[in-house]
């Protein structure tokens, strides 16, 4: 801001001042997380998709049949972050992974807090670590940890 009284100035704050309703499918998923429940949905071909989607990505059909999955899961692929970036969910080294919860047919992007890359392997079993204060967001599922 200029101190010169002859110069007009105004603050520029970049923001996204909207709120969104999450609807009956994504809303159910997020509400489930608050209750430590993982929900998927049956796709047109019978595959259980996690997180649930309102429509089938391949056929466009509306999807409505929510299915409880988990709580355990399996790692389908993973990447080891040696130096976490400022906004990453954990401040110490961790793995991003596609985690397929038991009863689901696809994986979704999650964090595995495994300590070291030697503790990670495709196909390994993981269990969710829930946040203490849950409010119906993806952050309620803090991360996953090796289930040994």
């Amino acid at each position: 801001m200029s101190d010169d009284p002859g110069v007009l100035s105004a603050p520029l704050i970049i923001e996204y001042p909207f709120s969104r309703t999450t609807g009956p499918v994504i809303g159910a998923f997020l509400t489930g997380l608050r209750e430590k429940v993982l929900l998927g949905i049956k796709g047109s071909d019978g595959r259980v998709i996690v997180p649930p989607t309102e429509y089938d990505s391949f056929t466009g059909e509306d999807l409505t049949e929510l299915v409880e999955v988990g709580p355990g899961g399996e790692v389908l692929t993973w990447a080891w972050v040696r130096g976490p970036m400022a906004k990453h969910p954990l401040s110490h080294p961790f793995a991003w992974a596609l985690v397929k919860p038991d009863g689901a047919d696809v994986g979704f992007l999650q964090v595995v807090d495994a300590g070291s890359p030697e503790a990670m392997a495709t196909g390994m079993r993981v269990r969710p670590r829930w946040g203490d204060e849950r409010e119906g967001s993806i952050h309620d599922l803090a991360c996953w940890e090796p289930d040994v």
Binding site: I14, R20, T22, I26, F29, L30, I49, V50, P51, T53, S57, F58, L76, T77, W78, A79, W80, V81, R82, M85, A86, K87, H88, P89, W96, A97, L98, K100, V106, G107, F108, L109, Q110, V111, P117, T122, S137, I138, H139
Partner: protein, 353 residues
């Protein structure tokens, strides 16, 4: 009936890590002056103008309006903009030329990736409810894809290093490249991983850049350019947003786009592929039917310069330039968008003998 449309001129700004002096308009104006001069056209001769850029890089709504001023849009012009790489602005211009009411189009794009935290910016394109809140970066997502490729037995870390090594070596002959060096793949493999299993050399640089193309249809193209680069096929396909719903070791959308664009109908002299990460070149080659092709990314490709919103149109321009100057007769250009090759555009360009 399809109206024949050709690239008749291509110009680009030398790619740099950070353009700290000039703003976007100042970056673009020499590029646009250059491409118009190559085509022998003024703005008054151009029937349609279309640009590609993103407000998320400039942090400002409708930021493209200021760069449009750099084109000199007065008297009023027919104009459009896409919040995508310039390759998609070219696609819109190609569709516009199919209507037949105009015969020429200026397509341009620009991106200053350097001023903001690019990895945070790119994460904003992901699912807003359960992916973007985790702030995954593009390198990590590409690393997940790379590991799947390795564990499916389709590629090794050594294969990634070969792509990384060859791309930067090719860039030594490209005066517009940002990263160019000659290091053997074996030496790259000796480097530690950045995000396992990817090394820094498997990843693209952060780049500021701009480029422009002029299109013309039918006889107008023949009158303006001795050897136009005719767009014989162009197609764009999209896969689901959720990474878990896709087989990340193949690119089905590229395969479909390639079939519809006619890639396999005749031999290919040159291919420029928008594969920001080394493993992605291997996936794209397979999907395009160019697995063992000898002349992929002679410019160095996105591993040598990866200006966001620009690197895709640059691929089309690099192929078109080789056809216009007679060093190639038939080429394939590819552009991508989204995480892990979610969206793909394929164009086939040919010269006439």
């Amino acid at each position: 009936m399809v109206i024949d449309v050709a690239v008749i001129a291509f110009a680009q700004m030398p790619n740099v890590r950070a353009e700290t002096v000039r703003n976007e308009v100042e970056m673009l104006m020499p590029v646009i002056a250059d491409v118009r001069a190559k085509a022998g056209l003024t703005q008054a001769d151009i029937g349609f103008t279309c640009s590609g850029s993103t407000d998320y890089l400039s942090g400002q709504a409708f930021s493209f309006v200021s760069t449009l001023d750099g084109v000199a849009p007065w008297p009023p012009i027919q104009e459009s903009h896409v919040e995508m790489d310039g390759a998609w602005a070219l696609y819109e211009a190609w569709v516009k030329l199919q209507l037949g009411d105009v015969e020429t189009a200026l397509v341009y794009c620009y991106g200053k990736s350097a001023p903001g935290p690019l990895h945070e910016v790119l994460s904003r394109q992901l699912d807003p409810y359960h992916v973007a809140p985790l702030w995954p970066d593009a390198i990590s997502l590409a690393a997940l894809q790379a590991r799947m490729l390795i564990e499916a037995g389709k590629a090794t870390e050594a294969d990634f290093a070969e792509v990384a090594s060859r791309s930067r070596r090719n860039a030594l002959t490209n005066p517009n490249a940002q990263l160019a060096w000659d290091t053997a793949a074996a030496d790259l493999l000796a480097e530690p991983c950045l995000v396992d299993p990817l090394r820094r050399s498997d990843c693209p640089p952060i780049t500021d850049g701009a480029c422009a193309v002029i299109l013309a249809s039918g006889d107008r193209a023949r009158a303006l350019r001795q050897r136009p680069a005719w767009i014989r096929g162009i197609d764009h396909r999209i896969e689901p947003m959720a990474l878990g719903l896709r087989d990340l070791t193949v690119s089905l959308s590229t395969r479909t786009a390639a079939e519809r664009a006619g890639v396999g109908n005749a031999p290919v002299d040159v291919a420029e592929l928008h594969a920001p990460f080394a493993p992605q070149e291997l996936i794209l080659r397979e999907s395009l039917g160019l697995a063992d092709h000898a002349n992929v990314n002679p410019s160095g490709g996105p591993l040598a310069a990866n200006p966001v919103m620009v690197a895709g149109l640059t691929r089309i321009g690099e192929v078109a330039q080789r056809i216009m100057d007679g060093t190639a007769t038939r080429g394939v250009a590819h552009a991508t968008s989204g995480p892990c090759l979610q969206q793909n555009l394929v164009a086939v360009l040919e010269g006439e003998d």
